[in-house]
């Protein structure tokens, strides 16, 4: 089998990044303006990359399907961002953040990348504070920290419950500054629908204007995809409505390998669905688990309300099963435990699809004012959605798809297997292994965009000095444009009998059932065949209203759902292949006697990177072996 080379620099792990930065050829300031770079997506990763590349002097074209780069879904992250500052003096260090992240990812991430992430985490906080991000402070004026998502040190920086918003506004403003300076040309309401590859390299993109329907080509020396994750493959997720996998899927179809597609994160604290027309799920910050206690009734089919159930008839199942970590076990463990008690018919709420998250004990201990100061905005949001007051009745929560650790395979430089095509942030597979720890997504997006890509891309560009980008008159552009126009025309012309959302909901049901929190060989085989059938039906029977020359949200969605079908099949293939349980990937055949995940390090200490084999055809597998020199592989235990 072919092996992938991640191009990890030589030397001790603490020196790899420094050595590599020294080894990367520099592009002189006068030459930087001779290079053009396309950035797709302007969330945390994309906007920080575009702004930094612009500051450095490159000519940047940035594209977003939103009306403004301030709308990207990074904005919805609530809890915080990790850094190894050790400001609290509680024993944190770069090595500990690195170690925790590799362990939290269940030993399926690349050591060198994660170490670099931990190293630059400190620079991110400095950068964001300098930009005016209003992180929480102590009375003495120093930055405040909290412990988050099961970490045993307080390394999380936060801005009330809206850390993602404040960080994204920081990148948005940095980008706006470059737009104003003329170094970045920003195209809003523009969706990338094809990567253009010529002479074996990524040379540009084809985008569609979402207001006029106009399809245009753009060429550059390099292309960066920062287009986020694909949790919306499940239909119901915490992602924004427009989040999609089209950009990375189009790149995959053009030859970029897809790493660990089945590694998805189901977040334990979301508000349960209230009916089948629910359009999306709302996340309640994981920080709630710091003070809330999770329980369900002991008895199956309990009908009393929470307040009527006496203490001895409640099952605080996380505290019972995991006495050491209790309610703060990692996300994958908490989600699976919730699914188990609900499958046992012990769920709560009108649809019996939730578990309680109870603050009564914390309110009694700390007082209502303290709880209000810590979680006031979250409690308000919960009440707005459910009409229940969490100060009086326990919250109801349920796991929901939230983040995808899988993504385009990238090397140490964040380059995909297509030369000149980079992938950063959630769109790549790199740093979180099989499970992401809380407050690490914001960290990775900004690490890639501010501090990694702007260096590494220089090495690729330096080798192209004196060459112009492949012009958009190259036949590869015409071909890609025609392909986009054909796809749009086909979707509009199908004129079937079912709506796009109907198909998307059906796909979501298959995926959450068979490729969600628990997966099995039979289930996955069934899913692959059902998805294929549904996909064929989609292309025969979907009804896409409106036209292709004005704003048409249905048409946008139709293209994204078409790509989700193909991506869903790949996720199931990957989940079927990985005959072990690790992190968010739980195979029912591979568990301990106590029902915990059982890894198979002998056979699966590698990244599964898949190549596109054609629609409905078997994908081809390439592996990147993972070597652990600094972290000792152990069975994760939170007991």
């Amino acid at each position: 089998m072919m092996q992938l080379d991640a191009k990890i620099p030589e030397g001790p792990i603490a020196e790899k990044w420094d050595n590599h930065r020294f080894a990367i050829p520099l592009v002189s300031p006068a030459n930087k303006r001779k290079f053009s770079v396309i950035v797709i997506g302007t969330g945390l990763a994309g906007a920080s990359a575009a702004a930094t590349l612009g500051e450095l002097g490159y000519r940047v074209k940035a594209f977003t399907y939103h009306d403004s780069s301030r709308r990207a879904h990074s904005i919805a992250a609530q809890g915080g961002i990790n850094a190894a500052k050790n400001y609290q003096g509680d024993g944190d260090s770069i090595f500990r953040l690195f170690y925790d992240t590799v362990k939290g990812g269940d030993y399926r991430s690349r050591e060198a990348n994660v170490y670099r992430l931990a190293q630059v985490s400190n620079e991110i906080i400095d950068q964001c504070v300098a930009q005016g991000v209003p992180f929480a402070r102590e009375y003495g004026g120093l930055l405040a920290n909290r412990s988050f998502g099961g970490a045993q040190v307080s390394r999380t920086f936060y801005a009330r419950g809206v850390t993602g918003q404040q960080l994204l506004l920081g990148t948005y403003q940095a980008l706006a500054r470059q737009v104003s300076a003329g170094t970045v040309e920003l195209f809003t309401r523009s969706e990338m629908l094809e990567v253009v590859v010529a002479e074996g390299k990524a040379v540009g993109v084809v985008v569609r204007n979402l207001v006029t329907g106009e399809v245009t080509s753009h060429s550059a020396h390099a292309v960066v995809l920062a287009t986020g994750g694909y949790s919306n493959v499940y239909y119901l997720s915490t992602n924004a409505m427009a989040c999609n996998g089209t950009a990375i899927w189009r790149a995959h179809r053009k030859g970029a390998l897809f790493g660990n597609p089945c590694f998805t994160q189901i977040h334990p604290t979301c508000i349960p669905a209230s009916d089948e027309f629910q359009s999306k799920l709302t996340l309640m910050s994981e920080s709630l688990r710091n003070d809330g206690r999770i329980w369900v009734p002991r008895e199956i089919g309990e009908t009393r309300s929470a307040s009527e159930i006496p203490e001895e008839e409640r099952d605080y199942y996380l505290e019972r099963r995991y006495p050491a970590f209790g309610n703060l076990v990692p996300r994958d463990v908490a989600s699976r435990a919730a699914e188990q008690v609900i499958n046992e018919q012990r769920g709560v709420g009108p649809l019996r699809n939730g578990v309680y998250l109870d603050f009564a004990e914390a309110i009694g201990r700390l007082g209502r004012d303290t709880i209000e100061e810590r979680y006031g905005n979250l409690f308000e949001m919960y009440e707005r959605i459910t009409d229940e007051n969490p100060y009086e009745t326990p919250m109801r929560i349920y796991p929901a798809p939230h983040y995808t650790m899988g993504g385009l395979w990238v090397d140490y430089d964040l380059m995909t297997t297509i030369p000149g095509l980079y992938s950063i942030g959630e769109a790549n597979f790199s740093d979180h292994g099989a499970n992401r720890l809380g407050a690490s997504a914001l960290m990775q997006g900004l690490a890639d965009g501010y501090f990694v890509l702007p260096y590494t891309i220089g090495g690729y560009l330096a080798g192209m000095l004196g060459t112009d980008p492949v012009p958009t008159s190259h036949p590869a552009f015409a071909e890609a444009e025609q392909d986009v126009r054909d796809r749009v025309a086909r979707l509009l012309g199908t004129n079937g009998s079912r709506t796009i959302d109907w198909f998307h909901r059906e796909l979501g049901k298959i995926m959450i059932e068979e490729c969600g929190m628990a997966r099995s060989e039979n289930g996955l085989r069934k899913a692959i065949s059902e998805i294929a059938t549904l996909r064929e039906e989609y292309h025969r029977d979907v009804k896409v209203p409106g036209d292709g020359v004005s704003m048409n949200e249905s048409l946008e969605k139709a293209g994204r759902v078409a790509d989700f079908f193909e991506l869903a099949e790949l996720m199931c293939h990957d989940a079927l292949y990985r005959e072990e349980s690790c992190g968010g990937h739980f195979r029912l055949e591979h568990q301990t006697d106590e029902g915990e995940a059982r890894r198979d390090d002998e056979r699966f200490t590698h990244v599964a990177a898949w190549g596109f084999g054609g629609v409905g055809a078997e994908p081809s597998l390439t592996r990147e072996e993972l070597e652990f020199e600094y972290v000792e592989l152990s069975q994760r235990s939170y007991k």
Binding site: D67, S68, R70, Q131, P134, A136, A174, R177, R384, S554
Partner: protein, 254 residues
């Protein structure tokens, strides 16, 4: 619940618009307002009609994309709530609800209920930022900021850029949006070096697009994040000061 909807339909920026009436039946009180529109759009699609164009994305009240004028109120009747977090339980069976786009000259209609709010981005580009090139920052704890100051900045920074303030204003002014961003940056020590330059750049750009503020305070009532008009006072004061201040002496006189 059964609801009658009067919805503004307009094919494009230059087309003539009109109200169309639709019936939404079997609406669950637990549905969000946008989910009610989703279901109506599904039905329109199956009936061979063109669905209603409206903007939305995160559906958590934070991205600022959704923007409906509901019965004459930006984001509807519930205070401190964006359209996407408004639920049908706030309405009654048999209600007739009027749904319009934001009404402001600076926000031209794109289609139906969708408008172009890019004038906001022009203001941010002009001065809504702190110049801190990547990599040049000192250690984060070298800048001490009193908790009260950062809390005040945070109150302003909550703005989601939805434009409800403009839609609510009889003058179509954007003072609350501009003041919120201005105050966020200018209440912090990091924002001081560019403070008065920022005041001028943001206000001057704002005036190219938006009407003038006359302190009606409708904006504060409409704001889904309940941002205070106190920040407008700060902005106005600093704009005046910026006009007579000699910035070369700023280090001596702040």
């Amino acid at each position: 619940m059964d609801i009658t909807l009067k919805v503004w339909r307009q094919e494009g920026p230059d087309a003539a618009g009109r109200f169309e009436t639709y019936q939404a039946t079997d609406v669950s009180p637990d549905m969000s307002f946008l989910e009610m529109l989703d279901i109506l759009n599904e039905r329109l699609t199956l009936d061979g009609e063109v669905p209603i164009a409206f903007e939305h994305d995160c559906r958590e009240g934070i991205c600022g994309t959704c923007n409906l004028m509901i019965d004459g109120h930006p984001h509807g009747p519930q205070m401190g709530t964006a359209t996407c977090q408004l639920h049908m339980r706030k309405f009654s069976d048999g209600d007739t609800i009027t749904v319009e786009p934001w009404r402001a000259a600076a926000f031209p209609i794109i289609k139906d209920l969708a408008v172009d709010r890019s004038a906001f981005d022009r203001i941010i580009e002009a001065g809504g930022h702190i110049g801190a090139p990547t990599g040049s920052a000192p250690d984060a704890n070298l800048i001490l900021i009193p908790k009260d100051a950062v809390d005040a900045a945070m109150d302003a920074a909550l703005c989601i850029g939805c434009g409800a303030c403009v839609a609510a204003c009889p003058n179509g002014a954007a003072q609350l949006f501009v003041a919120a961003k201005y105050a966020h940056l200018s209440l912090l020590p990091q924002g001081q070096p560019e403070r008065f330059r920022r005041a001028e750049a943001m206000v001057d750009t704002m005036e190219e697009y938006f009407g003038a503020c006359s302190n009606h305070a409708e904006c504060e009532a409409a704001c889904p994040k309940s941002i205070s008009i106190d920040f407008i006072a700060l902005l106005n004061r600093d704009y005046v000061r910026a006009k007579w201040r000699n910035r070369r002496l700023a280090g001596q006189s702040v």
